[in-house]
């Protein structure tokens, strides 16, 4: 079903953040890029598929007028659009967008910070590429920014601001099955567990709102019209996106879930939590319902918290762990 590949050492440890590992496979060059956030920096490694070459790079967070910034980065993720891949970094100060190898910054959006310090933290968190040309980013206030990305160049514009959530956005996800039949394009999650399901377009349309139960939803995925949500209670729930009907509930972990990921073709779901365990699940879609079966394998780690998938690859990273390594598990 899947097997473990060679471990990759990152330059420094991973920060305790939700959804902290991002992966980009570049088939034409037989390379995979990985990014892991470390405080105010992003560690990036590009690994050749034959396992022989690794090259490391570091990206810093940016502030408007300062050369070096101590602003903490909340998340780094690749947005895969038909014409280009963009690496997005969200921090306390704003949103940075780079060309896929992290070499050139193409866009910077500063967050509105209040004149006098309030108790409410200000940061951006939650990144998703939606359909052909949108990149959505969540904000601590609960708003979401929708950026319109041209086929090439740096003429990225803020197209819309979605105000539906009242609590900080934790994660965003777009439909990853590749199917064009799905009505829902994106799901957003917040700190009170509320989920919003959207359809993209010139104006994004709210299709459904799934209420939370006052428990933070830290990671969310959208697959074949099903929302897969991981909560601070360690539970995973599956909902039908447009109706909000609960398909399944899994008492998956003993601690806060930090990350979920899905391999779209095989339906393998990976969950990682603060209980230091990574679990692999199998989602099978039957016409009306989704059934969740668990594989017999639990991967013990030392605090694995952030899986990511791209196509068939499931990956998990180990922050705060001795080896600071990134484990890549490829599903067969």
């Amino acid at each position: 079903m899947y097997h473990k590949e060679k471990s990759i050492q990152m330059k420094s440890s991973a920060s305790a953040l939700y959804n902290n590992l991002s992966v980009l496979r570049i088939a034409p060059r037989s390379l995979t890029y990985f990014t892991v956030v470390h405080a105010n920096m992003v560690n990036m490694v590009s690994a050749s598929w034959d396992g022989l070459n690794y090259s490391h790079r570091q990206l810093q967070s940016k502030e408007a007028n300062v050369a070096t910034s101590s602003s903490l980065i909340m998340q780094a993720a690749w947005c895969v659009l038909p014409s280009r891949d963009i690496l997005v970094l969200t921090s306390q100060k704003g949103i940075q967008m780079y060309e896929s190898d992290g070499s050139i910054m193409v866009y910077w959006h500063a967050l509105d910070t209040p004149e006098t310090q309030t108790a409410q933290a200000v940061f951006a968190r939650g990144i998703a590429a939606v359909r052909e040309k949108y990149i959505c980013v969540g904000i601590s206030s609960g708003s979401m920014l929708v950026f319109d990305v041209p086929i090439k160049g740096s003429n990225i514009t803020l197209s819309e601001v979605l105000e539906e959530h009242k609590e900080s956005i934790t994660d965003l996800a777009s439909e990853c099955s590749g199917s064009l039949e799905c009505i829902a394009d994106m799901v957003s999650a917040d700190d009170s567990g509320n989920l919003c399901v959207w359809k993209s377009g010139e104006d994004f349309q709210l299709l459904n709102k799934i209420p939370g139960f006052d428990m933070s939803c830290s990671s969310v995925k959208l697959w074949k019209g099903t929302v897969v949500a991981g909560y601070g209670t360690g539970q995973i729930r599956l909902y039908e996106a447009v109706t909000g009907i609960v398909h399944a509930e899994v008492n998956a972990h003993a601690r806060w879930i930090y990350s979920l990921d899905i391999a779209p073709f095989s339906g393998l779901l990976l969950s990682a939590a603060e209980d230091s365990l990574v679990r692999v699940w199998h989602l099978t879609m039957t016409p009306e319902t989704n059934s969740v079966e668990v594989t017999s394998q639990t991967i013990p780690g030392r605090n694995l918290t952030t899986p990511r998938t791209h196509r068939q690859t499931l990956t998990a990273s180990l922050p705060l762990s001795p080896s600071r390594s990134c484990t890549c598990i490829t599903s067969v």
């Binding site: 405080a39 101590s70 601070g232 209670t233 008492n251 998956a252 209980d275 365990l277």
Partner: protein, 381 residues
Amino acid sequence: MSMRTLPLVFINLGGEMLYILDQRLQTQNTADDNTQKVMNDIIATMFSKAFMEELLKPQDLYSNRALRTVLTRLAHASIMRLNPASMDRLYELMVMAFKYQLLLCPRPRDLLIISYNHIDAIREFVRDTPSVLNQVDETHRKIIEVYTPLSDGEFQLLRQTLLIFLQDMHVRVSLFLKDKVQNPNGRFALSTTGPVPHGTEVPGLIRMFSSNGKEWKRWEFPTGGSYTSSIRVGSFERFGDRVTRIGTNMYSVTQPEETHTSKSYSQKANSEPNPLAKEELNLLARLLGGMKVQNRNTETGFRVNLFATDQEEEEAGASGANGDQSFQVINIQATQDVQVNTELARIAGEFTGEPEQTESPEGPSNKGDDLLAMMDELIEL
């Protein structure tokens, strides 16, 4: 990130510091009077109204350097003296204990319970000094007021902010190594047994629902750990059974050698110039200015050693400075062209309420030098 970290940082780190100092003072057979005085002075400073008010303002977490400076100052708020090597070790112990408590915290909200465990112990230390006890009570009330309304997500953000701040500290603590909660490389080992946090179900169950909400199938999966259901929640009030032992004094039942630490890797101190140094200095100035100046005895005070012998302390001081120059905060050095803003000069002036007040009132006198030297270090680094 979180704007509400500082009060909890100081309560927990300060609490750990008091546990360690108490243990060392007992080991060194310090007179009860002196021990009590040291504890009273430090606690009175830490829980003073001005200090706490400054901490409670919404603000970013200080840099490592700034935090270390204030904690060092706090440790010296009494007649007790610590050599740089001992101060280093004290700081490492405090920080690693707090890091462990943060990691073990069952739910992010339980960080409050851990803080209250520290406050409960601090209350015990000063139970015979009503004025200080009052300050502790007052602060506890304020903390309850400020933190109770925060959501779980906000607590998790707070916890994440602190974990990120501490993520590169991997000092080995002999007490943790002995209990096998810390690996030889300095990383903590998390347990996969025990009760689950309140609000979490024991892992192992999958339930499937039909479209009308009825459960139509359930089955279990092997969990790879052995969890039990959650136990009752601790009290979030001023008094009460906290239930968890995280945050209580782990030194009270141990041998004296348990305050041993060793660095596993040479730690790269963050030596980049901090562009926000001036801001930090202003914050520090306000904070230190808010600290009540204790009535310093004319006697030189007594020294506390965090090591087993004086010789060990000397050796540690000589060899332990690799890569950590930023932490040699107690250097008295000649101040050259120090840019002292008026606030600092005023504070320096306050500290010179001593017999040697013969220097010109504008410039800082001898006693203010160490404070300014600290600021100096901060500007230079």
